[in-house]
């Protein structure tokens, strides 16, 4: 008996409107744990190499780990996985709330959605009852509206809903899956998986479950909850300010992306930092399942043009992308733009970054007023940001349509040297953690499987505590740091536990605490060494997926935007920092060596794959002509 799991994977085929249930094997559990590991394994087995993200052959996976549905603090997380239309790579987006707990209570570890419906549908999972229901009346509705209508027609507000909005229906490449828990919401925001859902004519998935998840040692889990909760409630800023508190410090160390990363110091930071906005605008504190910390804040704008707007957060990443990146320090405009992103189902990070890119292009004269259709698209213009969110979501006008493709594709269309300041790694718009002020991040983003995500490696969890000489001006130890944090993330994303409990569970490598959690929940003994090996197995499997899709070392080496490699930060504490091409290449080479990957090809070495029990993948790559 293996506790914590349901041992059932629900597979839905929208083309045939059928479903089946697969058993989650011991081999899969012990080899990949769940969450990310499970999603990567399912993806490798189900999705052929080279498929278009919007083709029927792509799948959308909703995945959980062993801790979802238990009392383990920070377990209110889930994962959506698919091939991303932004990066053309295997991608996962991690989200909070209650959906993953509900899925486990309903009796499933994961849902795999394949095929394409002939008209809009949503999937309703109610314990053992699975329905594919008509969603024609929901198409075009916002995410909050879809949530309301679905819970009403299913007759129970306890149904947890993840929905796409109009942006995904318009195939905006960075649309977000939104999980409303009014008055807040949570989002699997990154990578545009929502538009893959919409390409399958799938509006939403709604889940209700009634059975508790059994754990191996309930008393130990309960004690663990009490121990962590007593610390988490005393956390110095997350219970009070949520992630809004991050902004001020990132600005202080000179690493806050400002005006499309032309600077990393934002003069308006004090106006949109947590201590400025939370006391004034907060109307509710909320939390995800099994979370004693409660970092979710809901704010309402009480003054100015956007008074009356209620929004979740905004989180730090949103304040960065729609605030400092666009040069906007008007909280009302940021909140309004963020709320529209939630309603229409847009990733706030990518949305802010593409708007900031367009603003720089406009200020440099690359975009004309004719092309912006009269919009004064200058940094600091909050109304223009709000307007551009509308245009992008509905692909309105030439510019809205171009920007809806994401910054990498938009810069190719707009041209005139704009690729120099298209701030993305591997097609994914850059998150709010500087690859110049935190040099390790240049490597982390470049070798991460997602690209510009702040979740592939997490060097800033450590580097923000180091002096500028260490974090911004040396490459010593950075490849080792990125290797370690990459492996830690593989385990966190497979369990799945919230990042904000990293301070208690470990922020560098897989830890004894991760092993303890697994033992209490599943009954399986894992040593830290075994967890490291599992983490390596998961990352190497994903690496083989990347290789299978035609990616190589060149894609990692070409990942950083030119601004990161050639433009020093012009001011602030991190003034002068950038990542010179030579030192970047040196870091990539060292990282490959640490990972057991061939620097000439980017392919994991045969002996590495065999050591991890993945030797059979070599034959798969041989058949595809990727190895001799």
């Amino acid at each position: 008996m293996c506790f914590g799991y349901r041992r059932r994977v629900l597979k839905v085929n929208l083309s045939s409107r059928t479903y089946s249930i697969d058993v989650l094997s011991d081999e899969l559990i012990k080899g990949y744990i769940g969450g990310l590991g499970l999603a990567a394994k399912l993806f490798y087995d189900l999705v052929p190499p080279g498929v278009d993200p919007y083709s029927q052959e792509n799948v959308v996976i909703l995945s959980t780990g062993p801790v979802q549905g238990t009392l383990v603090p920070g377990s209110g997380r889930g994962i959506f996985a698919s091939k991303s239309p932004l990066t053309n790579r295997f991608f996962i987006s991690n989200f909070g709330g209650y959906l993953s707990r509900e899925l486990k209570r309903a009796g499933y570890d994961a849902v795999v959605i394949a095929g394409r419906a002939d008209r809009p549908v949503y999937i309703a999972v109610d314990d053992g009852r699975i329905e594919i229901r008509d969603a024609s009346h929901l198409w075009g509705r916002t995410t909050y509206e879809a949530h309301k209508i679905i819970t009403e027609e299913l007759g129970d507000p306890k149904f947890q809903v993840a929905s796409v909005g109009p942006a995904a229906e318009n195939l905006v490449r960075f649309s977000a899956i939104v999980h409303p828990t009014p008055p807040a919401c949570h989002a699997a925001g990154r990578g545009g998986i929502a538009s893959v859902m919409a390409s399958k004519k799938l509006k939403a998935i709604a889940v209700r479950g009634s059975r508790e998840v059994e754990v191996h040692d309930g008393a130990a889990v309960h004690e663990f909850f009490k121990e962590i909760a007593s610390k988490a409630r005393k956390h110095p800023f997350l219970p009070t300010y949520g992630t809004t508190a991050v902004l001020g410090n990132v600005n202080r160390i000179g690493g806050l992306g400002t005006r499309n990363w032309q600077s990393e110091v934002f003069e308006g930071a004090d106006k949109i930092d947590g201590p400025a906005i939370i006391p004034k605008y907060k109307v509710a504190d909320m939390s995800c399942a099994s979370c004693p910390m409660g970092c979710v804040k809901v704010t309402r704008v009480t003054d100015g043009k956007w008074a009356g707007t209620t929004v979740k957060g905004p989180e730090y990443e949103t304040l960065y992308a729609l605030g400092s990146m666009t040069g906007v320090d008007d909280f009302g405009a940021i909140a309004r733009a963020a709320r529209l992103c939630d309603d229409y189902g847009l990733d706030t990070i990518s949305t802010g970054v593409v708007i900031a890119f367009a603003m720089e292009a406009y200020e440099r004269g690359i975009l004309t007023k004719e092309e912006t259709e009269g919009l004064e698209l200058k940094f600091g213009n909050g109304d223009a940001v709000v307007e551009m969110v509308e245009r992008i979501a509905f692909r309105k006008g030439w510019l809205g349509n171009v920007l809806a493709e994401g910054v990498m594709r938009a810069s190719k269309v707009i041209g005139c040297g704009s690729q120099h300041f298209a701030m993305h790694f591997k097609g994914l718009e850059l998150a709010g953690h500087s690859p110049r002020a935190v040099k390790a991040w240049t490597l982390g983003y470049s070798v991460g499987f997602r690209g510009g995500s702040h979740h592939d490696a997490r060097p800033h969890d450590i580097e923000y505590g180091n002096p500028v000489e260490v974090r911004a001006f040396t490459i010593d130890g950075k490849p080792e740091l990125i290797r370690d944090t990459t492996l830690r993330v593989m385990i966190e994303e497979s369990l799945i536990t919230c990042r904000f409990f990293g301070g208690y569970y470990g922020i560098r490598t897989p830890s004894e605490v991760h092993a303890k959690i697994l033992k209490m929940v599943t009954g399986i003994d894992f040593t830290v060494q075994e967890l490291i090996r599992i983490a390596e197995r998961i990352r190497n499997l994903i690496r083989v997926i990347e290789v299978r899709d035609g990616f190589s070392v060149e894609d990692d080496l070409n990942a950083p935007p030119p601004r990161v490699l050639y433009e020093p930060i012009p001011e602030g504490t991190s003034k002068g920092a950038y990542t010179a091409p030579k030192e970047f290449k040196h870091m990539v080479r060292k990282f490959y060596e640490l990972m057991g990957w061939d620097f000439n090809t980017g392919i994991p070495r045969k002996e590495k794959l065999e050591e991890l029990g993945l030797g059979h993948l070599v034959e798969d790559l041989r058949k595809l002509g990727r190895v001799k």
Binding site: K231, H235, P236, T240, A245, I253, I507
Partner: protein, 88 residues
């Protein structure tokens, strides 16, 4: 001095000028603040939240992280008391 987040709650202010003697170290400054703000400040400084790594206290001097409390302060230095804000 710049106080952020919970330090702002403990001291009741965001900014203040603190006069110290010539040749004073960062340690001297922190000791003076202990005396000025008392037990709650000391408690915050010594044990912010158990064994939390991600939320530990940071001292910035002119925006940069400093771990050596024996460094000498100069006239006009801006010292910030904050926490490692690693989230996001």
């Amino acid at each position: 001095m710049e106080y952020t987040l919970r330090f702002r709650e403990v001291t009741g202010k965001a900014l203040e000028e603190v006069l110290v003697n010539d040749g004073s170290t960062l340690n001297d400054l922190i000791s003076a603040l202990y005396v000025k703000y008392g037990a709650r400040f000391m408690e915050e400084f010594n044990n912010p939240s158990g064994d939390l790594i991600g939320g530990r206290i940071l001292i910035l001097v002119n925006g940069d992280v400093v771990s050596d409390l024996s460094i000498k302060l100069r006239d006009g230095d801006k010292v910030t008391l904050t926490y490692l804000t690693s989230g996001g």
